[in-house]
Subunit: 341 residues, 2 copies
C-alpha cells in the first residue's frame, strides 16, 4: 500500500544504468554480461525501492501473461478443491500463476467470462465446467488456448478426463464380490458427462456379472447432499429396494447416508453403499464411507501441463488413470438376506 509507484526507470536512474540492463538482470538474460558489482547494485536497488515489474506492461510487450485461468461450476463441491490443487501446483512449477473463478460467480456466463479475460490476461484456460454444447461455440471465439477438464464435449479434441468407467467397475465389482445381486445406481445429473461415463461403467459391470438392472434402479441426482438425499428416497420407495447402491459422487452420498438413517435403513446392514471420490470427509462420516479414489489432483495437474505444453491447435485427449482404487471402510458388507438362486 505504498503510495509511490516504482518503475524500471526509477531503478535504472538510481542504480546508474540503462533500463535495458535492469530488465536483463531481472530476466536473467544470458546474453547480458555486466560486472558482478553492477549486477549486485541493480539487485540491491530493486530490493531497496521494492520494485515489482508491471505485469500489464510485460504482458503487453511479450504477449505472455504467465498466468492461467480455471473456471469451475461451484467452489462448494469439494471435488474441485482437489483439481484446483493439482492445477495450482503445476502452474507454480512452471513459474505461472493460476486464477480460479466459478461460473456461478460470473454473472452472464461463459461469454462474459471470456470478455473479462480478454486477451493478455491469461495464456490459457481450463474449463472444469458444466457448459452445454451451445457454449462450446463461444469457447471457439476465445482467443486463448483452452482445455476441458473432467468432461468431454461433442466435436472437441481438447480434454483431460478420469477413467470413470474403470472406477465404476471397481465399485460394482466390489459389491458383486460381497454377494450383492440387487445393486442400484444413484447416478449424476442427466446432462453431466462424468455421470454418463459412470453410469456406463455401472451398466457394463452389471452386464458382465450377469446381473439385471431392475426397473427404477437407476436414479439421477445432482452432485449435492440434498440431491443424493432425495434420490435415495426414490430408491427406497420401490417395492423391493436394493441391497446395495453405487453412488456417483461423494457429495450425493452424504445426503443418501442421511436419508437411509432417517428411514431406519442401517448402512451397511440393510444397504451397502460405495461412492466415487475419496476425500477426508468420507472417512469421518457415520459409517465411514467406502469409496473409489480417483486421481483428481493429478487430473488438474495433467490438464494444466498439457495446456501449457501443447500448441493451441494440437489435440489433447487424455485419460488420467492412476490411481483408481477402492478404499474400504464401513459402509459395505455382505447382503443380509442371501439372494434367491
Amino acid at each position: 500500500m505504498r503510495s509511490v509507484k516504482v518503475t524500471l526507470n526509477d531503478v535504472a536512474l538510481q542504480a546508474g544504468v540503462d533500463r535495458s540492463v535492469v530488465s536483463r538482470v531481472i530476466n536473467d538474460d544470458p546474453k547480458l554480461n555486466v560486472r558482478p558489482e553492477t549486477r549486485r547494485r541493480v539487485k540491491d536497488t530493486i530490493e531497496k525501492l521494492g520494485y515489482r515489474p508491471n505485469a500489464a506492461a510485460r504482458s503487453l510487450r511479450t504477449n505472455r501473461a504467465y498466468m492461467f485461468g480455471l473456471l469451475i461450476p461451484d467452489f462448494a463441491n469439494p471435488v474441485y478443491a482437489e483439481i484446483i490443487k493439482g492445477a495450482e501446483a503445476a502452474a507454480g512449477a512452471l513459474g505461472y500463476g493460476l486464477m480460479t473463478a466459478s461460473s456461478s460467480g460470473v454473472r452472464l456466463g461463459l461469454s462474459h467470462y471470456l470478455d473479462l479475460l480478454g486477451q493478455g490476461r491469461v495464456d490459457g484456460l481450463l474449463f472444469a465446467g458444466e457448459e452445454s454444447g451451445h457454449e462450446l461455440a463461444q469457447l471457439r471465439t476465445a482467443e486463448v488456448p483452452w482445455v476441458l477438464v473432467n468432461r468431454t464435449l461433442a466435436g472437441s479434441q481438447r480434454y483431460v478426463v478420469l477413467d470413470d468407467e474403470r472406477g465404476s467397475r471397481l465399485a460394482v465389482d466390489h459389491l458383486v464380490s460381497l454377494g450383492h445381486r440387487r445393486i442400484a445406481h444413484l447416478a449424476g445429473p442427466e446432462g453431466a458427462d462424468t455421470g454418463r461415463r459412470r453410469r456406463a461403467g455401472y451398466l457394463s459391470a452389471m452386464r458382465d456379472a450377469n446381473l439385471p438392472v431392475e426397473d427404477g434402479f437407476v436414479v439421477h441426482a445432482d452432485y449435492t447432499p440434498s440431491g443424493g438425499a432425495v434420490a435415495l428416497e426414490r430408491l427406497l420407495a420401490g417395492p423391493r429396494p436394493p441391497t446395495a447402491v453405487f453412488v456417483a459422487n461423494v457429495a450425493s452420498a452424504v445426503g443418501a447416508l442421511h436419508t437411509a438413517h432417517a428411514h431406519g435403513v442401517s448402512v451397511p446392514r440393510d444397504l451397502s453403499m460405495v461412492a466415487v471420490h475419496d476425500m477426508p470427509l468420507a472417512s469421518h462420516l457415520v459409517p465411514g464411507l467406502t469409496t473409489v479414489r480417483m486421481p483428481l489432483e493429478e487430473l488438474g495437474r495433467r490438464a494444466l501441463e498439457l495446456l501449457a505444453r501443447r500448441g493451441p491447435e494440437e489435440a489433447i485427449t487424455e485419460v488420467v488413470t492412476d490411481p483408481v482404487e477402492l478404499v474400504l471402510r464401513q459402509s459395505t458388507t455382505t447382503p443380509r438376506v442371501e439372494p434367491a438362486r
Copy 2:
C-alpha cells in the same frame, strides 16, 4: 482458439473509422457523438471480427485492471466457498472479475504471490489467510490496496470480520438453556484469529452463566475433520467428560461426530454438540448438526465492496453481524444426568 489476433486497429480499418472512435464506442464515451449508423457499423464489425480488447494494454494505459484477487489458505475448507461466492458476486456487480488462489498453491508464500501479481494485474487484494504477523510486513510492500477477511492482525486497520463472539455466545447460551453445566470447547488452531475470538466468546458466556470451565475442557484443533476427531478423543479421555461441546468449526465437528460414534458416545444422548458455521453438509450429517449460521457470503461481499470503494489509506474495520443465528437440528438436547448441585 482462433489463430489471428484482432486488434482495435483491425476493427477501425474494417469499419472505416479512426481507432479512437472504436475505443470510444466500446467504452460508451458520452463525449463522443457519431451518427447512429456509424456506431452500428462499429459494433457490427466488432461482432464480426470477434474482437476482444486486450486487457494488458487497457490496464497499462488506464492503470486499472478491473480485476480483484483473493487469497485463501485452502480450497478444501467449505467455509471459503461461501466467502468466495460473496466476493465474486460483489466483484461482478461492480463490473470487475475476481481471481482466487490458495496460499498452499503459491509455492513460496505471500511474497511470491505478490511478485506474481506485480502491478497492473489486480486493483486490490483480499486476504482470507492465515498469514502470520511476519507476513504483514510483506503485505506492506504490496503496491496494491488490500484488506484482511475474517481475521485481524496487530497493527492493521484494514479488515472485515464476523461477530465471532456473538456466535459463540449464542451456541453456549443454547447449551446452558438446555441445562448443560459441564460444557467443553473444541477450539480452533492456537494461532487462528477466528479461533481466538470464538474462544473468548465461549469463556465470557460461561462466565456470565456462572459456569466453571473445567480443567482440560478447552482443546485446540485445526479446522479439519481429522483435527476435530483427535481433539474430541482428548476431551473424552478425561475422568469426567463434558455433557456438551461447543465446536469452533463445522469441519472439525465432522471428525468429532465420528470419534463420538467410534467410542460409543451417542450424540446427542450422551453428548450434545453445536458448531460454528452452517452449511448444507451440516443438515446431512448423522445426526443433523446444530450450528450457528454466520454471514460468510456477506463477509465476502462486504470485504470486496469496501476494498473497491475505500481509498488505499483509509481504515476499514468492519464487523459483519447479520445474520448470526442458531440453527437447531438433532445434535443437541438436555443432559441425561442432572449435574450435582
